[in-house]
C-alpha cells in the first residue's frame, strides 16, 4: 500500500509540477542583449546571408492602401540571388526540408527562388514586454500539454528549453488583439491528375483571445477561436462553424459547433482531433495539422534540436496578394514556384516522435519554425515505416501598419496520394483587421448565426 502511495504521489507531482527548470534571470537578460525580445538571435550570420535584426519592417511602401485587405510588397524590387533546382540541390541539402528535397528530386521543373533575407517581423511594445516577462515566469503544466494562464498576452517561451515549449510558441504566435477577418478564404485540392477543385470558400473571423488581456469579459482560459461561414460550394452555403481552443485542453477540450443550412439550429460538432483527416480539405490535412500545429500535444514526444539555417517561405506578399488562383498560383503537381519567395532564416528545429503505445498515422514529424515569427516555417511528417508522407510550407507577411506578422497561405503536399492542397488562399478579399473586438455576447454561437446566416 505504502509503495503504491509513493508511486501515486510521484506520478501526481510529475503531472502538476512544472516539467522543466525555468529560465534564470541571467539567461533572460539575453533578451535585451544578444537575443531579440522574442528569443531570436539579434546578430546576422557569419556568411552575411542572414542580416541582423533591426526591429522589423515598420515603413509604408508607396501605393499601400490601409484597410483595403491587401499589403503592397515592400521588397518588390528584390531579385532572386539564387535558384535551387534538381541540378544544384545537393549543395544546399543541409538547408532544405525533406519535402522541398522530394519535390526538387521528383520534378525537374520545380525550383526555389531564394531572395535576400529580410527580417521583417515587427511587434507592438506591449507584446514584447509581456514576452520578456514570460521568459522567467511562464511555464507549461500537466507534463507540457497545458500552459499557465499567467503567460497571457505574450509569447510564452522566448527562451525555450524543451521541444514542447517551442511548440507552444507556434500555437500561441502573436495574432493581434482584435479579430482578423477574411471575406473569401478559399481551399483548393489539386488532384493527382493536376486538376484543381475549390473545396470551400468561406468568410472567416479569428479572435486572438490569448492576447486580449484588456478585455474584461474574456475567459482567461480561452486561447483563440475562429468562425467561418461557407460561401461555396452551393449546397453548403450558409453553414457556419466555430472552433474554440483552450490553454488547458485536458480540463477544457476543444469546443466546436456547427450550424447546418435549412435546419436553423446550432449543434455541437463532434471532436475534430489527432489523425482524423479533414474531409473538407480533401483529407489532405489531419486535424492536428491545421495551422501546422493544432490540438492536444499528448501523443508525441517533442525534442528541441536547436537551431538551423533553412530556406523558408517569407515576405510572400506577391504570392498571397498578387498571384491569382487558379491561373497563376497552381501548377499540376505543385504550387507555382514563381509565386513563392524563399529566404534563408534561422529556424527552431523540433523533432516529434510518436509515444510508445499511442496510435497515429505518423511515427515522426519535424517542425522548423522561424526564430522571428513562430508561425512561419516548414513541416515534414513520416508514416509508420519512416517514409515521407506529408510536407507543409507555411509563409508569412508582415502587416506593417498593424505591427502584426501574419501567417498566410499554406501549401501541403500529400506524397501518398500524390495530391497537394492550397489553403488560406485570400487573393480575393485579402485580410481585414477589425478595430474593436466583438463582445462575448456577439461571439456566442447563436448570435453569430443570427448575424451571418439565414439559410
Amino acid at each position: 500500500m505504502k509503495i503504491q502511495h509513493v508511486l501515486c504521489a510521484t506520478a501526481l507531482a510529475a503531472l502538476t509540477a512544472p516539467a522543466f527548470a525555468a529560465v534564470s534571470a541571467d539567461e533572460a537578460k539575453q533578451l535585451v542583449t544578444t537575443l531579440t525580445e522574442v528569443g531570436a538571435i539579434k546578430a546576422g550570420n557569419a556568411e552575411g546571408t542572414i542580416p541582423a535584426y533591426t526591429g522589423g519592417y515598420t515603413g509604408t511602401p508607396a501605393g499601400f492602401k490601409p484597410d483595403s485587405g491587401f499589403w503592397v510588397d515592400p521588397f518588390k524590387d528584390d531579385k532572386p540571388i539564387l535558384r535551387i533546382d534538381a541540378k544544384n540541390m545537393a549543395q544546399y541539402a543541409d538547408k532544405l526540408s525533406e519535402g522541398q528535397k522530394h519535390l526538387l528530386k521528383t520534378y525537374p521543373e520545380y525550383y526555389l527562388d531564394i531572395y535576400p533575407s529580410r527580417r521583417s517581423a515587427a511587434y507592438p511594445d506591449k507584446l514584447l514586454k509581456a514576452t520578456v516577462r514570460n521568459a522567467t515566469t511562464c511555464k507549461t503544466l500537466k507534463g507540457g500539454i497545458a500552459v499557465d494562464v499567467a503567460c497571457r498576452g505574450g509569447l510564452p517561451f522566448p527562451i525555450p528549453k524543451v521541444g514542447i515549449e517551442a511548440m507552444w510558441n507556434q500555437i500561441l504566435h502573436y495574432a493581434g488583439e482584435t479579430p482578423l477577418t477574411t471575406s473569401a478564404s478559399r481551399s483548393w485540392v489539386i488532384d493527382s491528375a493536376g486538376k484543381p477543385t475549390m473545396t470551400a470558400e468561406q468568410r472567416t473571423l479569428s479572435d486572438p483571445v490569448w492576447f486580449q488581456v484588456d478585455l474584461p469579459d474574456r475567459d482567461p482560459n480561452m486561447m483563440w477561436r475562429v468562425m467561418s461561414v461557407t460561401k461555396a460550394p452551393v449546397r453548403n452555403v450558409g453553414a457556419v462553424t466555430g472552433i474554440t481552443d483552450f490553454i488547458d485542453p485536458d480540463t477544457t477540450p476543444r469546443k466546436a459547433w456547427s450550424y447546418t443550412p435549412g435546419q436553423r439550429r446550432t449543434r455541437m460538432a463532434p471532436e475534430f482531433a489527432y489523425d482524423t483527416p479533414v474531409a473538407s480539405q480533401g483529407a489532405l490535412t489531419l486535424f492536428d495539422e491545421l495551422f501546422v500545429v493544432s490540438g492536444k500535444l499528448d501523443r508525441f514526444d517533442y525534442k528541441l534540436a536547436g537551431k538551423k539555417e533553412m530556406y523558408i517561405p517569407y515576405n510572400e506578399y506577391k504570392g498571397s496578394f498578387e498571384c491569382p488562383t487558379v491561373e497563376m498560383a497552381l501548377k499540376a503537381k505543385y504550387a507555382n514556384p514563381a509565386c513563392h519567395r524563399w529566404e534563408l532564416h534561422r529556424v527552431w528545429v523540433i523533432e516529434a516522435t510518436l509515444k510508445a503505445g499511442q496510435r497515429h498515422a505518423y511515427s515522426k514529424r519535424n517542425y522548423y519554425f522561424d526564430e522571428d515569427m513562430s508561425a512561419a516555417g516548414l513541416y515534414d511528417a513520416f508514416d509508420q515505416n519512416g517514409q515521407l508522407y506529408r510536407s507543409m510550407f507555411n509563409g508569412m507577411v508582415q502587416l506593417y501598419d498593424k505591427k502584426l506578422p501574419w501567417s498566410v497561405r499554406n501549401v501541403i503536399y500529400d506524397f501518398n496520394k500524390n495530391e497537394y492542397g492550397y489553403f488560406n488562399d485570400v487573393n480575393v478579399g485579402g485580410h481585414m483587421i477589425m478595430t474593436k473586438a466583438l463582445s462575448e455576447r456577439e461571439m456566442n454561437a447563436e448570435a453569430v448565426v443570427s448575424r451571418e446566416s439565414v439559410r
Partner: protein
C-alpha cells in the same frame, strides 16, 4: 442505366463523365451577384436534382389483394420506372451589412413517371379517386409540372442595449432541440409541417425543402454571453403534406388528399375538407444556456400547437346504412409541450439529449368521437439521446461519420376519449381478424396497439474515401431505423419490429456534382386474412400503420444526380 456503362473500366468511365460535367457546371465559384456596394450582398443559387428510380422487388400478391393498400402497390410493377423526376430549388438572399435582408426560395418539379394518372384497385373496391384518376391536388404534387414559393421572409439584426436581437417576419421554418432522426418524439415534433410526399419521392433532398415554411414572426436574443432566448408566433397554419394515396411510395391508399375511401366495387365514402384550426395559435418560446461548470448547453422549451400531422383515426361523419358515406381527417388541437435538452461533447462524440412532456397529445386512436370531434388524447413523456462522431482513419475507410439516436416514449395517462385509445388493454384495441380470430378479441402490439413504453433506434454510418479517382470522392451511406420494443402511445409514433433501411453509394466530382445510387426497403410485421377467390391471403393489417404495412414489397433502386450553381 445502359449496359455499356457497367462494363467500361471504372477510371475511364469517370473520366468521360468528368469531361461532360466540365461543359455543364461551369466554375465552382459561388453565385454571389456583384452589386458594386460592399455592404449589399446578393446571392442567387440554384440546385437541380434528377432522380431515376425503378422498383426492384416484385409485387406481393397479398398486398395487391388488400383493398386498403392495393392502389399504391399496383401503380408500378417490378422493373418499372417509379420516378423520373426533375427538381429545381432556387434560393435568393439579400443581406445589407448584416443588418437587414430578405430570403426568397422557390421549388419546381416534374415527375414523368406519373404522366399516366390512372389509379387501379386489383382488390376490386372503388379506388380513392373520382374517375380513377389522380385529382388536381395530387396531380400537382406527384406529377407536376408545378412550382411553389417556400421561404419568403425579411429579417433584421439590431441591439437592444447590449443585447443583439434577430427578428424574422414572413414564411420560414425553425427546428429546435437536439434530435435529428426521430422527429415523432422530439421537442421539434410538429414545429413545422413537413412535405412527406417530396421527402419519400426525392432522395437527396435537403432538409430545408422537407420542412415547410409558414408565415410567422420569430426572434432570437443573446441576453448574456451564455443565454440565448428565442420565440416564434405563427400567423398561418397549413397541414403536413402526407405522401399521396395511390402513389408508389405510399403504403396506404387513404391519405388526406384522396377523393374517397372505397368499401365495395361500387360504393365509397366521400372525403370532406379536413378539420383544421384557424391560422393563429401555434407558438413557442425557448432558452439555451451555456453552463461552463458541466461543459454543456442546456435548453428549456415551451410550445403550444395544433398538430400539423393528421390524427391516425378517420372521422366518419355520416352513414349510408352500415357504411360511412362521408369522412374527413382531423388535426388535433391544443397540444402543449414542455421540454428540456442537454448537449455536450463526450470524448469524440457530440452528444445531445432531450426530455419532453406533452399534455393533450394526440394518441393512437381507432377513430374520432363525433360528439367532441376529437380523438383519444393523453399526457405523454418522450426522451431522445443522440450522438455523432467523425470516423477516424482505418484500414477500411479514410474518414466519414457515424450517428445514432435512441428514442423512448411513455404514456402517462389518457385524458380524453379513452374509448378511442388503441392501447393494449383498452377497449379500442382489438386483434386484426386473421382466420380464426373472433371479432372483438383483445389485441396487442402486433395489431398496432400502443404499449405503455416504446423504444426506437435510428443509425447512420457513412464511411468516406477521398480521391478514389482524381477529384472523385466516394461515400457509402447506410441507414437504419428500427422499432425495438413496444408501440408508441402517440399517433403514428412508431412500432416495434418496423424496420426501414437503405444503403447507397455517393460519388462526388470536384465537390460539385453528386451521383448517388440508393436501395431502400422496409420490413413491417403484417397480418393476412382468409384466402380469397384466387387463393391469396390478403394483407388486412398488422403491427404498424397502413402506410408501412402496404409498402413492404416496394424495395427500389434510385439513381440521383445533384448539382448547384
Amino acid at each position: 442505366m445502359s449496359q455499356t456503362m457497367k462494363r467500361a473500366p471504372k477510371a475511364l468511365k469517370l473520366h468521360a463523365i468528368a469531361g461532360a460535367l466540365a461543359l455543364l457546371g461551369g466554375s465552382a465559384g459561388a453565385a454571389e451577384i456583384d452589386t458594386g456596394n460592399p455592404d449589399l450582398k446578393i446571392r442567387w443559387d440554384n440546385t437541380i436534382r434528377y432522380n431515376l428510380g425503378a422498383r426492384v422487388e416484385k409485387q406481393d400478391p397479398r398486398i395487391l389483394a388488400g383493398s386498403a393498400y392495393d392502389e399504391g402497390d399496383s401503380k408500378f410493377g417490378k422493373g418499372k420506372i417509379v420516378t423520373n423526376r426533375f427538381d429545381l430549388l432556387s434560393e435568393f438572399d439579400l443581406n445589407y451589412a448584416g443588418t437587414f435582408g430578405t430570403r426568397l426560395t422557390a421549388a419546381g418539379w416534374y415527375d414523368d413517371a406519373y404522366r399516366n394518372r390512372d389509379v387501379t384497385s386489383p382488390a376490386g373496391v372503388a379506388t380513392s379517386y373520382f374517375n380513377n384518376q389522380y385529382n388536381s391536388k395530387v396531380k400537382r404534387y406527384i406529377n407536376g409540372p408545378s412550382a411553389e414559393f417556400l421561404d419568403a421572409f425579411a429579417w433584421a439584426n439590431f441591439n437592444a442595449g447590449d443585447v443583439p436581437v434577430n427578428i424574422k417576419v414572413g414564411r420560414h421554418a425553425l427546428v429546435w432541440g437536439e434530435g435529428v432522426f426521430i422527429g415523432a418524439h422530439a421537442i421539434s415534433y410538429s414545429q413545422a409541417p413537413t412535405d412527406g410526399q417530396k421527402a419519400v419521392s426525392s432522395p437527396g433532398i435537403e432538409t430545408k425543402e422537407v420542412v415547410l415554411p409558414l408565415n410567422q414572426i420569430s426572434f432570437k436574443a443573446q441576453v448574456t454571453s451564455d443565454l440565448t432566448i428565442a420565440g416564434q408566433y405563427f400567423l398561418e397554419w397549413k397541414e403536413t403534406r402526407a405522401p399521396n394515396g395511390g402513389g408508389f411510395l405510399t403504403g396506404a391508399d387513404t391519405a388526406p388528399n384522396v377523393d374517397q375511401l372505397g368499401f365495395t366495387p361500387t360504393f365509397a365514402a366521400i372525403n370532406q375538407p379536413g378539420l383544421k384550426p384557424k391560422n393563429t395559435g401555434n407558438w413557442g418560446l425557448m432558452g439555451r444556456l451555456n453552463v461552463e461548470a458541466i461543459d454543456s448547453t442546456l435548453g428549456l422549451y415551451y410550445r403550444e400547437f395544433t398538430d400539423y400531422n393528421p390524427a391516425n383515426g378517420l372521422q366518419f361523419l355520416t352513414f349510408a346504412g352500415p357504411l360511412p358515406a362521408t369522412f374527413r381527417f382531423i388535426y388535433p388541437k391544443n397540444t402543449k409541450l414542455i421540454g428540456l435538452s442537454l448537449s455536450k461533447g463526450i470524448g469524440p462524440f457530440s452528444f445531445g439529449s432531450e426530455l419532453s412532456y406533452r399534455k393533450n397529445a394526440a394518441l393512437n386512436s381507432s377513430g374520432v368521437n363525433n360528439a367532441n370531434d376529437d380523438v383519444a388524447r393523453g399526457d405523454t413523456l418522450h426522451a431522445i439521446a443522440t450522438a455523432s462522431m467523425l470516423l477516424p482513419k482505418t484500414a477500411v475507410w479514410e474518414t466519414g461519420s457515424l450517428a445514432f439516436e435512441f428514442a423512448y416514449s411513455r404514456l402517462q395517462k389518457v385524458t380524453t376519449n379513452p374509448q378511442l385509445y388503441k392501447g393494449v388493454g383498452y377497449a379500442a384495441c382489438t386483434a386484426v381478424r386473421t382466420p380464426g380470430v373472433a371479432a372483438g378479441t383483445p389485441g396487442n402490439e402486433s395489431d398496432a396497439c400502443s404499449s405503455k413504453d416504446f423504444f426506437q433506434v435510428a443509425a447512420s454510418l457513412a464511411p468516406q474515401w477521398l480521391a478514389v479517382a482524381p477529384s472523385w470522392d466516394l461515400s457509402v451511406p447506410i441507414s437504419i431505423n428500427y422499432g425495438i420494443k413496444g408501440v408508441a402511445p402517440t399517433s403514428s409514433g412508431g412500432f416495434e419490429k418496423l424496420l426501414s433501411w437503405s444503403i447507397g453509394a455517393n460519388l462526388t466530382y470536384q465537390a460539385k456534382h453528386e451521383f448517388s445510387l440508393r436501395y431502400a426497403d422496409i420490413v413491417a410485421p403484417s397480418k393476412y386474412g382468409a384466402p380469397n377467390a384466387n387463393g391469396v391471403t390478403p394483407l388486412i393489417g398488422g403491427g404498424a400503420s397502413g402506410g408501412s404495412l402496404g409498402a413492404t414489397d416496394r424495395g427500389w433502386l434510385v439513381l440521383t444526380y445533384r448539382t448547384a450553381f
